[in-house]
């Protein structure tokens, strides 16, 4: 039975040997063919040598998640074959190097097509026909693996040439010929397979004509573009995985006039961004857990001084250095409560790669509108996942700098001669007018100490109350002024039997799971919280109405679950969690919801709350 345009391809190898470039080549070729892809990258905190792999799922229609079954496993050394062979489905294919590995050593299902390619001999052949030095060709192994896969999938060889021509331009154009020699050799090897083997392999890719233009992009890139669009022109950072990619992207684009400053530590990174923000520039920093912790004091200063600033926390496995290159939704509690004393902060998390662009854009408006720090919780999963998505919609985007000082207000300040009343609560807007240094009449004072309207230090209890209440009332403004459809969304049949509750990047897998569950006779919908602090209390009615709630989070203790309980009193005792450092696959979600709906899960005691819970702990993936 032919399976057209539904394939899950995997390539692996030691870090630093071109696994990423092969996945890019494969993804770009599929995207060029008008197909839709979702690619997931897994790698160690290591530069060279440790095992890494990339999984690319290809489809006829848009997809937002990865699956467990592998249809083609492409390897050019022994470790990947050993580690992943068992994931190849019956009817799938394995591309391997017979000089490196014996098939008998692998945990292979029966009925798998095995395609031996002697990579070194192939490279020698490429060296001969192109005259290139053999020693310089190691990286071309990737092209061979990708091309053999494409040939198996019956994609035309011209697609490889088209893609390579797009990748290698200018000075690098000479690599097209070199790679094409390898491509041809790989196609020949596949052609040489007996016809009955070809007939056995059901997976085909067929180019789709008339697919509209799409972006093939990852979360870090989408996020960076959203920031640039918003007018962010100052970023300070300290290197840390997986946040660095964003700063790197921004620094590689000096044409936008953004100052990107690599600091001595994360304390400097947040404080420099705060200093920059005081001048009126839209400023931000990007970090991950360990750095985020170091920023706690600075964020509080920003809250106290009502500085618009956006912090992008690219979550990874914690605590401490934890799993530096793996995924987790573990920083929600810290984002919500980290720091001493009380100050208002807006915490939000993007749902999809497209939403990375939009939320990054919006976040600067919110920071300006509420004049307080905004924390955006990104994560390793989508930061490094590749997806084909429609181009970002830009028509509706508007810049909102919030309450700025008017010329009259500046004039009054000059006449009064007491400085600008920067912190005087405005009867209508609550937040106060903000002048920029450089404007005549602008001078005012800022201090982390409690202060009066002008920013003078005071310990007067009444002033303290007035100022503290003003700042904390921003939570109310956020709830009122951020449109509900930006705070949360409900997907699927509102009267479903099961309501899955999630936040952040589990959105995609739940979106893909609903139709699959439906086919299996399970009526489920999902509630996604995009805004986390303040708690979007309008979700309460949905939560109360739901027939059965299941919380889905990539952490141990269901951090959103705790926020929900705090805000509404609702305790969600059915839980699907994963804390292996890997994101949840479509198969995992579907099977866990099935188990919960069939009441197959034994209750246990939740060590965090002492409550009885039914918990599905997901474990799949290396």
């Amino acid at each position: 039975m032919k399976v057209v345009n539904e394939v899950n391809w995997m390539i692996g190898g030691p870090q630093g040997t071109g696994v990423d470039s092969s996945a890019n080549l494969f993804s770009q070729a599929c995207a060029t063919a008008g197909l839709w892809i979702f690619g997931k990258r897994e790698y160690h905190s290591n530069i060279k040598g440790k095992h890494s792999y990339f999984q690319v799922r290809v489809s006829d229609k848009p997809i937002h998640s990865h699956v467990d079954d592998v249809h083609i496993l492409a390897t050019f050394e022994d470790s990947t074959a050993r580690l992943h062979a068992h994931e190849v489905v019956k009817g799938g294919a394995l591309i391997y190097d017979p000089t490196k590995i014996m098939l008998d050593d692998l945990d292979l299902k029966s009925g798998i097509i095995t395609l031996p390619i002697d990579f070194n001999t192939t490279l020698r052949h490429v060296a001969e026909v192109t005259g290139e030095e053999y020693g310089k060709l190691a990286i071309i192994k990737n092209t061979i693996a990708v091309s053999a896969s494409m040939a198996l999938l019956r994609m035309d060889i011209s697609l490889m040439e088209e893609t390579l021509t797009r990748i290698y331009t200018g000075k690098k154009a000479k690599f097209v010929g070199l790679n094409m020699a390898a491509v041809k050799k790989a196609y020949e090897a596949v052609d040489a397979l007996p016809d009955e083997l070809h007939a056995q392999f059901p997976y085909h890719l067929e180019p789709k004509k008339n697919t509209p233009k799409r972006l093939l992009i990852n979360g870090a890139q989408a996020n960076s573009l959203g920031k640039l669009k918003a007018g962010c022109r100052y970023q300070s950072y300290y290197p840390i995985s997986p946040a660095t990619d964003e700063s790197n992207y921004l620094e590689s684009h000096p044409e936008y006039g953004i100052a990107v400053v690599q600091c001595e530590d994360e304390i400097a990174a947040i404080d420099m961004a705060l200093g920059a923000a005081t001048t009126g520039v839209r400023a931000s920093t990007a970090t991950s857990g360990p750095g985020f912790c170091l920023m706690a004091e600075g964020l509080g200063w920003g809250g106290m001084n009502e500085v618009p600033i956006v912090l992008f926390d690219y979550q990874r496995g914690g605590p401490s250095t934890g799993l530096p290159t793996r995924h987790e939704q573990g920083d929600l509690m810290f984002a919500a409560f980290g720091g001493h004393g009380e100050y208002p902060r807006l915490v939000m998390a993007p749902s999809t790669i497209d939403d990375h662009f939009h939320l990054a854009f919006e976040s600067f408006n919110y920071a300006d509108k509420f004049q307080t720090p905004v924390i955006i919780l990104n994560d390793k999963f989508l930061t490094h996942s590749l997806e084909t998505i429609p181009p970002f919609k830009e028509d509706h985007l508007v810049i909102d700098r919030g309450r700025l000082a008017t010329p009259q207000e500046l004039e009054t300040a000059i006449a009064d001669g007491k400085g600008f009343p920067r912190f005087r609560p405005d009867a209508k807007t609550v937040v106060s007018p903000r002048p920029y240094p450089g404007q005549e009449g602008s001078p005012y004072w800022m201090t982390g100490d409690e202060h009066d309207d002008y920013g003078h230090i005071t310990e007067n209890p009444e002033t303290r109350m007035k100022m503290h209440e003003k700042r904390m009332s921003k939570y109310k403004l956020m709830l009122e002024q951020i449109p509900e459809d930006r705070q949360f969304s409900l997907h699927g049949d509102p009267n479903a039997d099961i309501t899955l509750v999630c936040w952040g990047t589990t959105y995609g897998v739940l979106e893909d799971a609903l139709p699959v569950l439906k086919e299996k006779g399970i009526k489920a919908n999902f509630l996604h919280l995009r805004m986390l602090v303040p708690f979007p209390i309008a979700t309460e009615k949905i939560l109360k109405k739901a027939k059965k709630l299941v919380i889905v989070e990539n952490n141990f203790g269901t951090q959103l679950g705790h926020l929900i309980r705090m805000a509404t009193g609702i305790f969600i005792s059915s839980q699907v969690v994963k804390y292996t450092g890997r994101p949840m696959s479509l198969d995992e979600i579907v099977s866990s919801v099935e188990k919960l709906s069939k009441k197959e899960i034994k209750p246990e005691m939740d060590p965090l709350t002492g409550q009885s819970i039914e918990k599905v702990v997901l474990t799949y993936g290396l």
Binding site: E255, G257, A268, A269, A276, V281, I414, G438, G441, G448
Partner: protein, 327 residues
């Protein structure tokens, strides 16, 4: 709008009416006054001037100025000030703070600020104690010394801030004394005028907690190494012949020679206290380096790069960047 010319920029124009709560006789008064005089002499428009301060007695300077005054976090005055200067190089940015703030908790930032050579003056009030937390040892207090509130003599050796500044890349390094108003004012002016990162370390008596290095101690006449006569403890190294200004920054020998001499002066081992300009060199500032990499920043400060039109629609055109991703 009131025209800039209508408001004469006298010293009074830089004083806020906030009550000053430093202890009587505190050296910080001298420093504050000198900063205000400099602002007036340089006619810095208060609305274009930002004074960033650390946390400590010294940090309160922020509130006594009527420019923009920013009281930051303990040890973090430099990152805040650097961020503001890079975001808008048209602003005059001055950083001030205590010796605990700058050389202790903020030592990491102190070092890296030197490497960046941002165009600003950093004035450190060196009183050898943590004034605001009631007199603990600052990193400038010598080993074995026991100022008033130390339960035991100090167990740590002192750092030498001028030498640290030198090895960190500060391009202007000077020292002055809080109660020598004339010298102090001239030095602050030079530090502000210098195009690059300037450190001015100011010896600041703290009559409340530092009962060793008091104003009386500074005023005493003593003998220096190899000197036979009694001379004022504080002596001006430039008047004594030290020339720390590098004439040709590309001349390796000259740079090495001036650095060596500045280093020797910083470690002056006698009983006398050297003040003056120790070292000075002209190197490209961080903003100039940034502009070389992002030419648009030559035209606009980051805080002034256009990004929206009159109806607040974003004007940043991403289409060139999209090309890379479009399939």
């Amino acid at each position: 709008m009131v025209s800039k010319l209508q408001a004469p920029l006298t010293v009074a124009a830089y004083k806020s009416d906030v009550h000053n709560d430093w202890c009587p006789g505190c050296g910080d008064f001298g420093i504050l006054q000198a900063v205000q005089q400099c602002c007036a002499e340089l006619a810095l428009p208060p609305w274009e001037t930002m004074v960033f301060a650390g946390i400590g007695c010294s940090g309160k300077v922020f509130n006594y100025m009527s420019t923009h005054g920013v009281h930051t976090l303990h040890g973090r005055v430099l990152p805040f000030a650097v961020g503001a200067k890079l975001a808008n190089p048209d602003l005059e940015v001055v950083a001030v703070g205590g010796d605990g703030d700058g050389y202790g908790i903020g030592a990491g930032h102190f070092v890296h600020a030197g490497r960046r050579n941002v165009d600003m003056a950093y004035i450190v009030m060196t009183n050898e104690v943590y004034g605001l937390t009631k007199g603990q040892a600052a990193p400038t207090l010598g080993r074995g010394q026991q100022t008033k509130s130390l339960p035991q003599p100090n167990t740590n050796d002192a750092i030498q801030p001028l030498a640290l500044a030198l090895s960190s890349g500060y391009t202007w390094i000077g020292r002055s004394y809080a109660f020598d108003g004339k010298h102090l004012k001239e030095m602050i002016k030079k530090a502000i005028d210098h195009k690059g990162m300037a450190l001015l370390d100011v010896l600041q008596p703290c009559p409340t907690f530092n009962d060793i290095h008091t104003a009386e101690w500074f005023n005493k006449k003593v003998k220096g190494p190899g000197e036979n006569v009694m001379l004022p403890r504080i002596f001006n190294i430039n008047e004594a012949g030290h020339d720390g200004s590098v004439k040709d920054p590309t001349n390796f020998d000259e740079v090495a020679d001036k650095q060596r001499k500045a280093f020797e002066m910083a470690y002056y081992y006698g009983d006398r206290a050297p003040v003056g300009l120790f070292y000075e060199i002209k190197l490209p500032t961080y903003v100039e380096r940034m502009q070389a990499q992002a030419p648009l920043l030559k035209k606009y400060a980051p805080a002034r790069v256009p990004y929206e039109d009159a109806s607040h629609l974003p004007t940043t055109d991403l289409s060139k960047s999209y090309e890379e991703f479009l399939f």
